[in-house]
């Protein structure tokens, strides 16, 4: 009946879908990626940038787990910024503007490097269900495929509806692409709860009609960075760690790589990599002032969002210009970032001006911005409403609890952002493969990664607005950083067996370099005269005698890299390894605090809650907590501790109940012992887990 059976079928070719497909392929599965249009695989639907605060760390985590987002970004970066440089390397946040076309092509090529991963064009109309399990998909075109696991990553396409003003309403998943309706209807019929969110995007303009001379130019800082492991600092000494070759083409060890690249077509991302970074383009900063505010205020009733056309809730951190002006009327002006779309066009993305006002108002608004007086609008901004499935219906591997064999990843789970989608794609892809192979599931802890925080947050707490990561969401802001993603996650990847031999050697070299930097700092003495200029610049007192570099690097404002240079050592160490070593030295006490908390969390996570626990009958747990726990069925005490409304005393009650059952199981006597001998979890759970 089905034309072919794959281990894993991924529905959707966005950032969640492509990562899920690659993750499953790296696990050794045969994979089909089914998407409505092969040309839009890897499309950057909103702003043309990858990374940012917390998000940049996710990109590096995706990369460490074998994902493609970081590699594709490195191949398409046309402007780069390291955000938060003034706040110390602990929260440095890489962000890259990308050429949309290059990015898409890089993603497609990277997918096709995997010999058992097949992109297939088709609009999935229906899941094939058997005995309450998902066992395949059928497309509108009449093709059907069998699968041992299905991952749905349909983004905003499920019953997507685009609004421009109150009068214009277009059914679509993204401007120019049709929405998916059939699949949405089936998912609803099988009993999944569905809800609506909205998000928005700004207009785009023709750069040839912009007066750049009145705008502020923002240059690239590319020399600082590349996402791909080992590429930190493309110039200077650090490149030797990555000079073993292009990242693309390292997937297989058996020499099939070059064939794969060749079959990807005439365009060779690997060549671009070897040739060095792409020429960089600037972004431009302008301001929407009083005149724009007046236009928005006068037409507010015509906005799809304010005129009542949209009911779904939107993200607070990505406000429309209408939101900005209604909620913060005192702000005198709002920044606009004009971001290049790519080399092949003058088109610019007007970041900061997301709107659902009618097109004519958008043009008026744009022309009220100094520098855009005669601007041509290439595309209007719009708001989009779409279906999502409240993610509390998922287990901790992103599998749909009510439909085993089916995983959800990305915006369908109520998240927002390319990076958040990619992280979920990895989790769903790895776990679908593990399930197919009959292996135990992988749950990334909150202490391990931002991806772990994201998955835990959405399945445990749910979402009430499109979910985005912030560093504030993590209890481990200092120890979970962009510079140490490989150290945090490579052990997991090694355990899973997702790396090639070449990659394993690279990883070992990368981690070794960190240790070398730490050793060098501990064992090299710097003299007072060598250190004097540095210490003077940092306002730090001079040395009385020679000291190990490690001791001096603990001082505020004194960089380890600079100390190495002053002492004439460490020139061959990768810059990133030095940054990591420096952070570990400077904030040792604080990192130790976070790690102690992480240990407590891991202990809590080992206390499994039996799946048949009758929460509604637990008298020692508050009523609110009973209801929430019964609905969510947390798998561990750690997860239960993060359910909103569950207090430390509720957790004590849970521990008591689990212990009681354990005692009943080991001895037949059922004595009512009144809660003695409870493990000491009070402290651990009272702090934030």
């Amino acid at each position: 009946m089905t034309e072919q059976t794959f281990d894993v079928i991924v529905v959707g070719g966005g950032h969640a879908g492509t990562e899920a497909a690659v993750a499953a392929a790296r696990m050794g599965c045969s994979v089909a990626l089914v998407t409505s249009a092969l040309e839009t695989i890897g499309q950057l639907s909103c702003n043309p940038a990858i990374g940012g605060v917390a998000k940049g760390t996710v990109v590096r985590e995706v990369d460490a787990l074998g994902g493609i987002m970081g590699r594709a970004t490195d191949l398409a970066t046309i402007q780069f910024r390291m955000l938060n440089q003034s706040k110390g390397p602990a929260v440095w946040a890489p962000r890259a503007q990308c050429d949309r076309g290059l990015y898409r092509r890089a993603v497609r090529a990277l997918l096709e490097l995997h010999p058992r991963l097949f992109p297939i064009q088709g609009t999935v109309a229906r899941l094939i269900l058997e005995d309450g399990r998902a066992v395949g998909v059928e497309t509108l075109e009449g093709r059907s495929f069998g699968a041992r696991a299905v991952i749905i990553t349909t983004g905003t396409f499920l019953r997507g509806r685009i609004h421009i003003g109150t009068g214009t309403r277009i059914t679509g998943g993204r401007a120019g692409d049709p929405a998916s309706v059939h699949l949405a209807e089936q998912l609803e019929q099988v009993g999944l709860t569905v809800a609506r969110f909205k998000t928005g995007t700004p207009p785009r303009i023709d750069g040839r009609t912009v007066r750049f001379e009145v705008l502020k130019r923002q240059e690239s800082e590319l020399e600082l960075f590349g996402y791909r492991w080992g590429h930190f600092g493309r110039t200077g000494a650090s490149t030797d760690a990555s000079s073993t070759g292009a990242p693309i083409g390292r997937v297989a060890d058996d020499g099939t790589v070059s064939t794969a690249v060749a079959s990807a077509g005439a365009w060779r991302p690997g060549v671009a990599e070897i040739a060095g970074p792409l020429p960089q383009l600037p972004c431009w900063i302008g301001f929407a002032g009083a005149e724009v505010k007046a236009i928005v205020a006068a037409h507010i009733g015509e906005s799809a969002m304010y005129g009542g056309a949209i009911s779904g809730r939107g993200p607070r951190y990505c406000p429309s210009v209408e939101d900005k002006i209604v909620k913060f009327p005192d702000a005198e002006h709002h920044q606009l970032f004009l971001e290049p779309e790519g080399y092949e066009t003058h088109e610019l993305y007007v970041n900061g001006l997301s709107t659902s006002l009618p097109a004519a108002v958008q043009i008026a608004m744009l022309r009220a911005v100094p520098g855009l007086e005669r601007v041509q609008m290439t595309r209007a901004g719009y708001a989009i409403e779409y279906d999502y499935y409240p993610p509390t219906q998922l287990d901790t591997t992103l599998q749909v609890r009510a439909l085993p064999g089916l995983w959800f990843a990305g915006q369908i789970n109520g998240t927002t952002g390319y990076e958040e989608a990619a992280g979920q794609g990895i989790v769903a892809g790895l776990n679908a493969a593990l399930a197919v192979q009959g292996r135990p599931p992988l749950v990334l802890g909150r202490e391990s990664s931002y991806i772990g925080v994201l998955v835990d947050d959405i399945v445990t707490r749910g979402v009430d607005e499109p979910y985005r990561l912030f560093t504030s969401r993590s209890e481990f802001r200092l120890s979970v950083r962009q510079d140490n993603a490989l150290r945090r996650l490579a052990p997991i990847g090694l355990e899973l067996g997702i790396y090639s031999e070449v990659e394993k050697r690279e990883i070992a070299a990368h981690l070794e370099a960190e240790q070398q930097a730490a050793k060098l700092a501990a064992h090299t003495t710097i003299t007072p005269s060598q250190a004097a200029p540095l210490l003077d610049a940092a306002g730090s007192r001079p040395l009385a005698h020679g000291l190990p570099i490690a001791d001096v690097a603990r001082r505020q404002g004194v960089s380890l890299q600079a100390l190495f240079a002053a002492a004439g050592v460490g020139g061959t160490l990768p810059a990133e390894a030095v940054v990591t070593a420096e952070l570990e030295l400077k904030y040792a006490g604080y990192l130790a605090r976070e790690r102690a908390q992480a240990d407590r969390l891991r202990r809590l996570a080992t206390l499994a809650l039996p799946p048949d626990l009758a929460y509604e009958k637990l008298n020692s747990v508050s009523l609110e907590a009973r209801q929430k726990l019964a609905a969510l069925q947390p798998s561990t005490l750690a997860q239960a501790s993060r359910v909103p409304g569950v207090s430390p005393s509720d957790l004590q009650g849970l521990v008591f109940e689990v212990e009681r059952r354990r005692m009943m199981a080991t001895s037949t006597s059922d004595d009512d012992d009144g809660g003695e001998a409870q493990p000491d979890v009070g402290r651990a759970t009272a702090s934030r887990q």
């Binding site: 951190y317 707490r461 504030s472 605090r593 009681r660 009272a686």
Partner: protein
């Protein structure tokens, strides 16, 4: 263990009271009581005179005033029924037995309040206050517990938590939104917010000694040579204040100790063994006891029959304690002149003449004791509830330590924001242990409410 059941207990103390109160709570509370009580059902929150029968024999047990409180608007948050029966040894016990026969279980100590906490009717701090109120040995403790039960301390801690959340939100804004319209937060704004939290925590912690005084009474030691009239003075002070006298268990009986419920400070009056160089072994023991008391006293009354004896006592006491002294000339009724009741000053210490016999000087002495205590301790007000429990003190001290560490690092720019924020989070965690419930969503809510973020 029976789960989710209905509990019952006689809430009043056993004994020969006119009325006893039985309380029933749980999902089946109405069903259980309905088997005993006629008429039934009753209108909630209206006390109704009912006949109470034994459901097994049908025998009439009592006529009682029965009130139904429907959950969740009840003490425990569950359905609650209160039966005000006649008191005594037999009636409450027989009604209790009938309730158990109808399906209720005897409640464990504190179980009603525990359920109130579990059902969100009160927080932990308020529940502790219920215990404190029941255990109160003084009017001051009663007032403090009532204040705490009404949420005084919870509100105060809650307000501090809000302010710390604000600091964290400002830091989160700085870290998570580096490219916004408003630009970075002025450092001074964060420093001011943190400094305010630190000083408020200090004010609360400063009430800890007061809290101990209110909880346990201020130790006022009556010291002096044998036969200086110390015991008479103690009895006179008791009589004068119509005190609630309770034995304080666990103390050595070599000193006599009584609680006096006076305002604003309750007192623990301690009559020690006589202070003089003793040879006899029993006497020595008595002296050691008295010295131990003297060294832990909040106020010491230095007694003597004449000024010389008061002076000698004070000199000895100064070697033993840094507690404030009040000189007391006893037995002034034995002296002739009227001038002897007047307060005199000896070495900067007030000396008050009193007569246990006539009561002369006693009000002045009490007044001086209270004034001496008030000069050294923060008296409780509704604006500044006092901290009466060690658990609260530990949590507040921990929060203070962390908030101070943050402030110091921030003011001197010793740490970058994300590192310094570790202290803010730890301070929040400490307060959370007091009243419960820290939520990262609250931090983000603040960020979004205060700043126009996002491109």
């Amino acid at each position: 263990m029976i789960l989710d059941d209905t509990i019952a207990a006689v809430a009043t103390a056993p004994g020969h009271g006119a009325v006893a109160l039985l309380r029933v709570s749980g999902r089946a509370a109405l069903e259980v009581v309905g088997q005993l009580v006629r008429p039934w059902p009753l209108e909630p929150r209206r006390a109704t005179l009912c006949a109470v029968h034994d459901p097994r024999s049908g025998a009439l047990l009592d006529r009682a005033l029965v009130t139904v409180f429907a959950g969740p608007s009840s003490y425990t948050g569950e359905d609650v029924v209160e039966l005000a029966t006649h008191g005594g040894a037999v009636v409450p016990a027989s009604v209790m037995a009938a309730l158990e026969a109808a399906g209720a279980r005897g409640a464990r100590a504190g179980e009603f309040t525990r359920r109130a906490v579990l059902n969100g009717r009160m927080d932990l701090v308020q529940a502790e206050a219920v215990g404190d109120l029941v255990d109160a040995r003084s009017g001051a403790m009663q007032r403090s517990a009532l204040e705490q039960m009404d949420g005084g301390l919870s509100r105060r801690v809650g307000a501090l938590r809000e302010q710390l959340l604000e600091v964290e939100a400002l830091l989160a804004y700085d870290i998570d939104f580096p490219e916004e319209d408003d630009g970075p937060i002025p450092r001074q704004r964060i420093a001011d917010a943190a400094a305010s939290v630190v000083s408020q925590l200090e004010a609360l912690i400063a009430t800890v000694p007061s809290g101990a005084l209110i909880r346990d009474g201020a130790v006022v030691v009556i010291a002096g040579p044998p036969n200086a009239g110390k015991s008479s003075l103690l009895n006179a002070l008791l009589g004068e204040n119509r005190a609630i006298v309770t034995d304080i268990p666990g103390t050595t009986r070599d000193a006599i100790e009584v609680m006096v419920d006076s305002r604003p400070w309750p007192l623990r009056l301690v009559d020690t063994a006589g202070m003089h160089a003793a040879t006899d072994i029993v006497e020595r023991l008595g002296i050691e006891v008295s010295e131990r008391w003297v060294s832990s006293a909040q106020v010491v009354l230095a007694c003597g029959e004449g000024l010389d004896e008061v002076q000698a006592t004070m000199t000895r006491l100064r070697a033993l304690t840094s507690a404030p002294l009040i000189g007391v000339r006893t037995k002034i009724d034995l002296l002739s002149a009227s001038a002897s009741t007047a307060t005199t000053i000896l070495d900067d210490t007030p000396v008050i003449g009193v007569s246990a016999e006539t009561g002369a000087g006693l009000p002045e002495l009490m007044e001086t004791i209270q004034r001496t205590l008030t000069a050294r301790h923060v008296a409780p007000t509704s604006e500044l509830p006092v901290v009466t429990r060690a658990r609260h003190r530990r949590a507040l001290e921990s929060a203070h330590e962390e908030a101070t560490a943050f402030l110091d690092a921030w003011v001197d720019d010793l740490l970058p924001a994300p590192v310094a924020a570790v202290h803010v989070r730890a301070a929040l965690g400490a307060l959370e242990e007091l009243v419960g419930g820290l939520d990262v969503e609250e931090v983000l809510d603040r960020v979004f409410a205060s700043f126009c973020v996002g491109k």
